[in-house]
Amino acid sequence: MRTTRLISLGAVGALALSACSGGGESVDTGVDGGGGGGDNTLVAAVGAQPDQLDPHATSAYPSFQVLENVYDTLVVPSPDDLTMVPSLAESWETSEDGLTWTFTLREGVTFHDGSEFDAADVVYSYNRIMDEDLQNAYRFENVESVEAVDPQTVEITVSQPTPNLPALIGGFKGMAILPEGAAEEYDLKTEAVGTGPFTLESFDASSTQLAAYEDYWGGAPELAGVEFRYITEPAAALTALENGEVQWTDNVPPQQIESLQGNEDVQLESIPSVDYWYMSMNFAREPFADPLVRQAIATAIDRESVTEAARFGAAQANQTAIPEGNFFASDYAPFEADAEAARQLLEESGVALPIEMGLMVTDEFPETVTAAQVIASQLEPIGITVDVQTVDFATWLDRQAQGDFDAFMLGWLGNLDPFDYYHSQHITDGVNNYQGYSNPEVDRLLQAASSETDRDTRKELYNEAVRMIVDDVSYLYLYNPNVVQAWAPGLTGYTIRPDKAINFEDVELP
């Protein structure tokens, strides 16, 4: 892991070097993309190889970059505001008591193997996830049954009103619909049979290749195919984009945004995402169990400079989780970076100074390491000595699960519903409440919000809970990062999305 970090640092140095030596003029390379390129195939440079392609079993983002283009879900987040819109389901309705959801399925949809899509496929796919306790089984926590009423109608019964059910079953391709019996018929880890715009052609250690699916229900894509080429090193990915070997990449480190903005060979976009990064302290360890100590730390940290250091401006500092502009966002921001006020809070707490705090970060996400260093420098003057502990992600996750930390920093990615942002992280004994926060009032509000069907009331409930979560410093929210992607100038039909789903369905090459 250390090597990876060194590489990215090296990349910055080398790029700076090339900038000095008068780069910038456009370069025409006689070099062809190689592999599948050339014939109206888009080559996308992605940072890593998918671990496997079974949508129900993987949790890896590189897998979903590919699967997004191969599989469909009943509903999908719309590209602009991420509300759930029809996909394989044309419409849906909820019963009066909120316990029965009826989905009407699209007609004339076929899988890549030619079989017809109907309600039995939905029942099969969802039961596969539930019965085998696969990765996303937790999304069916409230679901009691999934039944086919007729070939075009699926009924889902829930144990309590679940307003976020569409987000749960359509948030991403981890909830993909497979043809009935697919797991028995295919090796889904390396084969794919979806209803999406592209079919899987090949999957190896260099690239994943897709081909246009002519019978796609949304109309055949413009492209003949897509090749996802794994290029881990950002400098190599950007060079490949500049000289035309690839036409799209998301392997753009934030520190290079500025230098790329004036580059004629690259179309760069950076938009706010649905992710958030935060720090959390261990409620089971002194002196962090003391709310005054946590508040002192929340007051001493200057989120703006942490954000600037970690993301080079490609992020918005935030004191809550949900980014500005989202319907459910809260404008609550009680802390103002103030070392003097922080010192007073510490004095009030009566805790002996200096406080030693281990801050656990991982080089899997280098921005946490940078942010931690800034946080350490900001806490030093108020008498808190921060020991930045950089470990690999496997160790990090272990220590988090065992509660073996004073404080840690990480992010929650791909959030759609306020439930994703707040529920399991802050409810007493929640599966992701590693910090050990417990506030009966917050529990009550989160429970009520999770089953509240009126959108405005739901927002109020969440916002009330958020105030307490922030005041109690269950999480110390830092910032919402941007999604940064770059592509060849003249490439059309591509929409950069806040949820980082990558869809090449409507793309046309220059």
């Binding site: 080398a14 030596s21 390379t29 070099v31 260099s206 090193e233 190599a236 996750l397 992701n432």
Partner: protein, 291 residues
């Protein structure tokens, strides 16, 4: 080895599931991966199967370890042998010339070059090459791998830069060995005797100096080759080269024990085989060893 791999902290099941999952999913995956079995049982199960050539199934991808290694072996072999070729092309002339003219300008330049090769980080050299040859000049693709059988031209284009980087690094190490062993041979008694007998310089050099200097060269080349065959992680990453180094790194990061064990087993095997080959070469070069 099995024990060491499992001793490393980190839970492959938790890594595979990411951050959002339920306890039931965790237990189910743990059972499917066989990680709920006692470690001793896991070991004997693995060992028994490994004896029959079955190295198990990757946690991460669900493919067999042997197929994953086989998929990446051609790329690794290609890069390793190409790099050794580059290394020898650099090391033998450079080392010999500087030994023949010690402390001359040629010698100093050679020392500087080999010092450069050893001390410059390979990722930096790789990125600079990419920026110059793929970026500014646009002569070569920025990375990737195409099998020789598919397109020899594309194969060579993609091989040049990574082979140059690893070749320069290995070559710099080998240069120093060549220089010192040639120097040593030059000063040996039998060389003086040969010269006294009136043999020509070329004859003395080929038959009496080079042959004696070959032994250390073969040893160090063998070591370098074994190192290259176990995958050159950094260079593979910089040039998107799908070799064994990347596989091993991914396996470490994902705590993918079966793949990691398979890779380590393979690397151990490579060292054994190369040591054997080096020993056999010794006796071919040096008649004294044959007895």
């Amino acid at each position: 080895m099995f024990g060491l791999v499992h001793l490393v902290p980190g839970d492959p099941v938790r890594l595979a599931l990411g951050t959002r999952f339920s306890q039931e999913s965790y237990d189910a995956l743990r059972e499917r991966s066989g990680l709920d079995q006692p470690l001793v049982e896991q070991f004997f199960g693995w060992f028994g199967r490994a004896l029959t050539g079955d190295l198990g199934v990757s946690f991460r991808s669900g493919e067999t370890v042997t197929s994953q290694i086989a998929e990446r072996l051609p790329a690794t072999l290609t890069l390793a042998f190409a790099s050794i070729l580059v290394a020898l092309l650099i090391a033998v002339p450079l080392g010999t010339v500087s030994a023949l003219r010690p402390r001359s300008l040629v010698d100093r330049v050679a020392t500087v070059i080999s010092q450069f090769g050893i001390s410059v980080p390979d990722f930096w050299m790789g990125i600079v090459l990419i920026l110059v040859f793929a970026g500014t000049l646009g002569w070569l693709p920025s990375g990737g791998y195409v099998p020789l059988t598919e397109d020899p031209g594309a194969w060579l284009q993609r091989l040049l830069m990574p082979a140059l980087v690893t070749g320069v690094v290995s070559g710099s190490v080998i240069t120093r060995f060549v220089r010192s062993s040639v120097l040593e041979a030059l000063g040996a008694d039998h060389v003086r005797t040969a010269q006294a007998k009136g043999l020509g310089t070329r004859q003395v050099f080929t038959w009496h100096v080079l042959r004696n200097a070959l032994l250390p060269l073969v040893t160090v080349t063998g070591v370098q080759l074994a190192y290259l065959l176990s995958g050159v992680v950094v260079v593979e990453i910089v040039f998107s080269w799908p070799g064994l180094g990347q596989l091993a790194l991914q396996a470490v990061q994902a705590r993918d024990y079966p793949v990691l064990q398979g890779a380590i087993l393979l690397f151990a095997l490579v060292f054994l085989v190369i040591n054997l080959v080096v020993d056999l070469l010794y006796s071919a070069i040096d008649p004294r060893i044959r007895r």
